[in-house]
Point group: C2
Chain length 387, copies 2
């Protein structure tokens, strides 16, 4: 057979900066980045899209941004800051995506310009998708404002919107050119959103880093008391593990293994069934408890380590189970979810379990009976250890 072989690699690079008061005039973190990436020929435009709830919660944010770019000239600010609703609705309603594309067109934002998005993971997902497809890719800067977005979703390479009522139906893999994690934004977060992001840190510690798990145990109280220094460390360590994982694995997920999705298969189903009333991190916390208990009952993880995991999840303030996660009959939602997940993976199930704290491994079968017992064991634990 006659053919030509094409083979090439594309290199992606970006920095995740950690700072406080990104738009304080004396803070040159962003300006330095823009100057480092300037070209001699022309000044690049920068178009901001901002999460409405963040704009409301952060006193004087719009003025600060405008003042910053009136002094710092690394990029030319489009004075019109685009506001979009925060939360899942920005991904659910296609209009927000189209309106934003419209602004990109109206202000002549091209491949030599920047789109900068400030907000939670939802706003970053929508804005990142628009930036990825307009002109086949505009340089995209992320400024995440939730714990989840700063330690997980905002530092990664994916974006998306929902479509046909399906979560993340449209999207791409498109790395940002820079991420700026400003811890000041976290001050205005509600308690549930503050806590929710901690679930990803527990997750990644369980599969990758036992020392980080111990640190989480030791700092659980500080974290629930909203200690900023503890949160700064948590975010940085979690982001680091996430970045390493992406770089060392399969960044654009061409294979079907998804090691970072420990605890996520049941969580996704639970979020969906509760119409996202249960937050992602809250669902993941319960998914982690379930898959940890399963690991124990299936004979892989010691009872002592199992207890430590579940105790930590509880101590952070998470609920450890939900009626929808129980195997009550053959058509319980969780079994439907397991089947959907199998189909989603193209036929063969791949689920991560724990061997010990800090080390995951993959299995291709889940025993329904053990899954039922795991649910029951968590219920018992919850009953014996009320909040």
């Amino acid at each position: 057979m006659e053919y030509l072989q094409q083979t090439f690699s594309v290199k992606f690079e970006y920095k995740v900066f950690f700072t406080s008061g990104l738009f304080d005039l004396g803070n040159t973190c962003m300006e330095d980045f823009l100057l480092d990436n300037a070209t001699t020929e022309s000044v690049k435009k920068i178009l901001f899209v901002v999460d409405e709830d963040v704009m409301k919660a952060t006193t004087g944010l719009a003025d600060k941004i405008r003042r910053y770019f009136s002094i710092h000239k690394g990029a030319q600010l489009v004075p019109d800051l685009i506001l979009v609703p925060g939360g899942e609705s920005v991904k659910n309603n296609e209009d927000h995506f189209h309106n934003f594309l419209n602004k990109i067109n109206e202000y002549g934002i091209d491949r030599h310009s920047y789109v900068a998005a400030i907000g939670g993971g939802s706003v970053l997902d929508m804005a990142g998708y628009a930036a990825a497809v307009a002109h086949r890719g505009i340089k995209h800067i992320r400024i995440p404002t939730t714990v989840l977005a700063q330690n997980d979703s905002g530092v990664g390479v994916k974006n998306s919107i929902n479509y046909f009522g399906k979560k993340n139906f449209l999207g791409t893999f498109a790395p940002p050119v820079a991420v700026f994690n400003d811890d000041n934004f976290l001050l205005t977060l509600g308690n549930r959103d503050w806590r929710s992001g901690i679930a990803e840190a527990i997750k990644v510690s369980l599969i990758k880093d036992p020392v980080f798990f111990e640190w989480l145990e030791q700092n659980a109280e500080a974290l629930t008391a909203r200690d900023m220094e503890a949160m700064r460390y948590l975010i940085k360590r979690c982001a680091q593990l996430h970045l390493n994982h992406i770089a060392s694995g399969d960044p654009f997920e061409k294979g079907s293994s998804r090691p970072l999705d420990f605890g996520h298969w049941s969580a996704h189903k639970l979020e969906q069934l509760t119409n996202f009333e249960v937050l992602h991190g809250e669902a993941v916390a319960m998914g982690l408890a379930l898959d940890t208990m399963y690991s124990n009952l299936a004979g892989f993880l010691s009872a002592e380590e199992t207890q430590r995991v579940i105790a930590l999840i509880k101590k952070i303030g998470f609920a450890i189970t939900h009626p929808l996660l129980e195997v009550a009959s053959d058509d319980s939602p969780i079994l439907v979810g397991l089947n959907e997940f199998r189909e989603h993976l193209g036929g063969q199930l791949t689920i991560m379990l724990l061997k010990r704290i800090g080390e995951g491994f993959e299995v291709h079968d889940i025993d329904t009976d053990i899954l039922r017992q795991a649910g029951e064991a968590i219920n018992e634990y919850a009953a014996l250890n009320p909040a």
Copy 2:
């Protein structure tokens, strides 16, 4: 400044196959590819989207495809073959894109399935874009049916649709998993589409391959007489040069240099101004003549080589100039186009010219006066050498 550095590379690989009668039962080219990429767990689905004009022109195509997959089981055919209009209209009207996404959803095509597109560059661009964004990327097979798509657009890494009345406003860089060039499809092409694709071969020979240029000179008559063997060679050599260029350069065009766009800056403007009545290749042929003559008048290219280039373009049957390409006054369309192109590049112009046949180089300035003279010189040549 505190930061984490992220760096990784993503490898892309695909083959461009050359065959005749892709869906003949005895032709195992596609089946072999599918089997090579099969996994043990499940059979992958394959959804076809077909250019309506190709479907009409190719006797029994639908039946052939269905028969092929009833015998060969490398993938499971979705029996509904999706028909879309051929030509630019499939990129202009967003409905075609949305309807196709709808089919992808309806038939449960996911990241483990294939989308296969049969058609000209327009259909491949729309289908490739849909495949790239659905589920963050479905495996995409291209089956190009025009000369241009087989030797240029279809073997590359870009896709797009038009939006806000702007050519290619939405799109991505997303390599296919395989390309099947079946020369039988070329038999039903109109003469203009047959000829149009030859412009890209002339272009790439001029900047990369003097031996290929000589081959084109020697085979100009065979090519215009629709000799299949000559066309097969042309397509393969042009595709090869195109693939090499992508692999050795900047595949996702992060920089601003576009060496493969020799002759294209004025061509894009001409296509647009004539509402795409002048075909891409026809416009490129004129753009090549103009930039070649400019190279000569600016003192870079010898008169003898200039004559050879223009003579070849004419011999293939192309018009070598168009009233809209003349510099008549300071606001002639071509000067507007030059300025738009400068803006599009972010301020600094980069245009490829010729040093000799087979070797291009870049300049950052175009002298309006020389450009006017080049237009006049081509007009004179045309007057002295009527078709």
